[in-house]
Amino acid sequence: MTPLLEARGLTVRFGKVTALDGLDLLAAPGEVLAILGPNGAGKTTFVRTIATLVRPAAGQLRVLGADVARDPMAVRRDIGLAGQFAAVEPAMTGRENLELTARLFGHRGRAAKKAAAAVIDQLSLGPVAGRRTSTYSGGQRRRLDLGASLVGAPRLLLLDEPTTGLDPASRREVWDAVRGLVAAGTDVLLTTHYLDEADELADHVVVIDHGRAIAAGPLSDLKASTGGTVIEVGVADEAALGAAGSILARVTASAPRFDPAGRRVSAQAAGGTRELAAVISALDQAAISVDEAGVRRPTLDEVFLTLTGDTSTSTQTNTSTQTKELR
């Protein structure tokens, strides 16, 4: 079976800046792949390289078998791109926008209208399709943008931070739309710096840092590697922060992270709420007054710190073994 994506030593440079630094990745079709990483890690550059907007300086990238450098036209026929901004024309209606993109994908006359109608149907855009997109809400505009990337029936949909800047309700709206597409059989690659977004949508994740893949595999494995949950305590008096930190360290048996400005300390806690109860009673015994205490999922920053911290010596190994992990 032709891999969905096959990157070997993919390197992209902008002047002196190396955005992708020998990235290796192999992804099979039939999965939703999330590319995670902090800002500046190279996520967007990777998407833009797949979309043939950026030329690799070295290495190779094949999209469904077609080489992005040698046969970009074939790649463009197979992909749909929805970038960080909703690239729809505000002065045109939703339907007009879809028909425009359909024609630019190669549909003619009636076929363009049919493709646009199908997308409107699939993304439940019917009620707003006749309105100019300048009147759309953020979520509606993103959904239309998603639709515009779909009217050519691409085999791979590229979503670059599909919900950045959206309110929670609009994020759900976009997630539901993406799930619908996945159910209908479209392969999706998305970048995000929200762990919950990857959680909602992705089967597999690849973590990128400094232009390289530093971890890859099923999302559950990634989360397990970071201890699952985090206990965070906010103390009333900054002087007690150190004491609270040592209690946290003792109960969770992991190194606490201090945030003196926010009078907060947090630590990875495999035991979740059970360990939280122990922490709270220990804090109580030590007479440390607490503003808040709770269990939460690790932020991507924390996942990242764990990954980059733990893998600083084994980055090489991770990069070379990930091919197997991703099948």
């Binding site: 026929r77 960080q84 024309e89 425009l100 994908f105 990337s149 085999r155």
Partner: protein
Amino acid sequence: MTTTTLTTTTAIPRPARPPSAAGAALQVARRALLKYIRTPGLSVMAIVQSAMFLFSFRYVFGGAIQVAGSSYVNFLVPAYVASIVLFTGGGISVAVAEDKAQGFTDRLLSLPVPRLAIVAGRTLADSATNIWSILVTAAFGFLFGFRLTGSVAGGLAALGLCLVYAVVFTVVFIVIGLLAPGVQAAQGMSLIAFVFAFISSAYVPATSMPGWLQPFARYQPLTPMVDAVRSLIAGSASDVGLALAWSALLIVVFTPIAVLRYRQA
């Protein structure tokens, strides 16, 4: 699994082949034109601006400017019509920079569209809007007192030459928009056109300028372009060859830059 991908999305048909260059260019042009027509801030303001500038030159500054052998309004209007795009063209650069900043250009480039079609479509649409503002400006010229001194055929030939310039300047402003690092920068960079518009024979005779400024005024492209329009109206064809040569040179230099810049936008 690839087959499931194709069959389960039967609702959306897959195009048999990519669009033709001409078809894609028309779509790109259509969108840019719709944006222009449906955004009063673009279409109406361009007209208002062109009328205001002409009004100021004709009635405010005009009285103080002496031109040998002609009334100022007859000296001014042909030049103004020929160079109006230098004043309104900043809008093209801004639109191009906006498309780049807002991801529209990325979307276009990710589609199976021939690269030349993107530039061609943009040029087609912006030339059309520029031709429209040239026609409106010419009408204002007559309204503000311009009269043909020569034949109607000469006047039409002059107008035709102005339309050629509209296309030439369009490509230049597209390139400015593509080279600009941002939307505001595009606005600022397009102001360089004012230098060419004012330091030329368009608004005052070049001979009235200080000696050190005259060489630039005399040899930059706008001066022969404007002089050619004036001479066609007067019934001769002097400078027309030079004006067309400049037009051709600008097109030949700027079109490849536009195509290349779009490729790496």
